[in-house]
Symmetry: C2
Subunit: 344 residues, 2 copies
DNA sequence: TTGTAGGCGTTATCAT
DNA sequence: ATGATAACGCCTACAA
């Protein structure tokens, strides 16, 4: 019967040995020539490269990895690449990694801690030189793995309380305090916080900043002004609906992030409320759509790409030489646009 | 002077041989046990696994890759991971890849064709088992590489004219024709197209669909109703400004994509024009923010995640057995929301 | 069921 | 400047 094989006449993968015989030299020489070692005659080097090229030869990074014991690859675990915030951070990491000759192994945990652990395990199996995890809930759990495998790990926006691991994050607390100060200056006193419901550290910290702001202005904290969305538009919309059912509604609402503000704004429009005339609204992140919302959103800019770069820079240093855990905190910047105005 | 070395007492990486002596068996046995081979005594297998675990041993995927000649990794080159459309596609790919035991090597070309080529070269060097490229401008250029390296490639939304390579794409032309039909049914006759300026195939095809729609309705094509943005909000905003300077402005505007619609809407608001009362607006993609725009955007939904899955499924098949180039076309779905209404 | 031997494609360490 | 030779850590016959 006819063979079903599809590898018809797949040219048998070449190795430096093949190139070596073609060039009439030994394979170590080919190896040297191909990586531009100075200890090889320029002419023969050129000839070797010429031959390699015309045979479409590419050295095997996996063989290299085996002997050099470094793969020049880093593992990157994210909670959701479809999240614009994450995507920007990834961009910064990727860019920086590439510039330094590293490749990025991307894995999406879909916000599942168990899956996240599995991913990290796979990373060490693949012998990545370093690992970055964004918005991890289980950051601390990596410590043992880190110890035994020796693979350095850096976290971006660690969501676990109590850090004992390298990480870069934004100053959530101070950020929200700034927002509050802004709102208070506009005359607001009845200010709500539309948060997240998953008990992430960022939410906790932002809420703390909110309370700091209240305290600084001598405004009493009122439990009914705290509602919980899910960090995304749909959940925030519902949370805002809830807020609007209050006997006396707030004059300003601080959202956990821009995604939430997007959903909240939808709710306000549906209730025929005008922003900022009837109610002021703020976000956090400054995602690409913030300036295009109607009205343009006042928010806290998080230097997302820069944070990615920073994480990678930290990792590069760690891969070179390990050092004690350190958390880098970057400051958010208050971007004033048109969703906030004087209190009525 | 004190040593600066940081590799203090890094436990010397274990290999199956080490586990072998610890378990008093030969290394092939360890190898078998660790991958659950049925040809090893269950008890010894358990013992071996136990030992491996307590020593935090993880087999080296790179060594495996060297001998099995497959890395169980695929290369994924994107034009920009920060683009929400791309991010969704990546999600679908990643998800599907993982389910089948594959890892994803992500690279962002930043829309630079030269960089894209370099990335693909690096992929073959790293011996990925397959490659996916999104929105490639130079798809056809991969053909030779594909031939010589034997690495299968699948394109998502190939932007190059004349396909001779595996790819999955959306039916751009039919999509825009549907939008036109919708608008025409609402009584619009003066309909503009706000496109992209980079000569991508999607833009060309969508424009063709626009003209199809015009023709079907017996409406003459008018050059002045075609303006060019850049596929993103800012460029589209400027393009819309331009459109509004026309002596007689259109009653409806079809945007190249949702990002463009976002920018266009901003411009309309700045000109105190109401949507859809004064002007109808449509997008393409149905990104997450479309339902949250004010008014919610009527647009063509592209099954982004599904397209990613599809691309991966195709690649999986190709990695198993190569087959002649085939382009899979998916249909977009018209999502009616509130940015379109009757012509005045 | 288990062990032995050889090789996957490089780099590294010696010589020459 | 170049070559032999030995790893790197695993898998796959094949033999026992």
């Amino acid at each position: 019967m006819a063979a079903v094989s599809s590898e018809a006449k797949m040219p048998p993968r070449l190795s430096i040995k093949d190139i070596a015989v073609l060039a009439n030299v030994s394979h170590p020489t080919v190896s040297r020539a191909l990586k531009g070692s100075p200890l090889v005659n320029p002419e023969t080097a050129a000839r070797i490269r010429q031959i390699a090229e015309q045979h479409h030869f590419h050295v095997s990074a996996v063989a290299q990895g085996l002997v050099t014991r470094q793969t020049l690859a880093i593992g990157l675990a994210v909670t959701s690449i479809a999240d614009p915030f994450t995507a920007e951070v990834v961009r910064g990491i990727e860019e920086n990694a590439n510039r330094h000759g590293y490749c990025v192994l991307l894995n999406d945990s879909n916000a599942d801690p168990a899956r996240e652990r599995e991913i990290v395990r796979q990373f060490v199996e693949r012998r990545v030189d370093g690992i970055i995890v964004t918005s991890s809930r289980v950051g601390a759990l990596y410590l043992p793995l880190l110890e035994t495998s020796g693979v350095p790990i850096v976290l971006v926006n660690d969501q676990h309380e109590g850090r004992s691991i390298h990480s870069v994050m934004v100053d959530n607390r101070h950020g929200l305090a700034m927002v509050l100060a802004h709102l208070v200056a506009l005359g607001h006193r009845r200010i709500a916080y539309l948060g997240d419901r998953f008990g992430s550290a960022s939410d906790t910290e932002r809420l703390a900043g909110y309370r700091d702001g209240l305290r600084a202005a001598g405004i009493a904290f009122r439990r009914e002004l705290i509602v919980r969305g899910d960090g995304r538009a749909e959940g925030a919309r519902a949370a805002m609906d809830e807020l609007l059912r209050l006997p006396q509604r707030p004059t300003a609402v601080c959202c956990y992030n821009d995604m939430s503000a997007l959903g909240a704004l939808r709710s306000l429009h549906d209730h025929d409320l005008r922003v900022p005339e009837d109610l002021s609204l703020t976000g956090f992140d400054d995602l690409f759509f913030a300036p295009f919302m109607v009205p343009a959103l006042t928010t806290l800019r998080q230097p997302m790409r820069e944070m990615g770069r920073l994480a990678m820079t930290t990792l590069l240093r760690l891969m070179r030489q390990k050092s004690p855990p350190e958390t880098i905190t970057v400051q958010p910047e208050l971007i004033l646009r048109h969703s906030t105005g004087s209190a009525r």
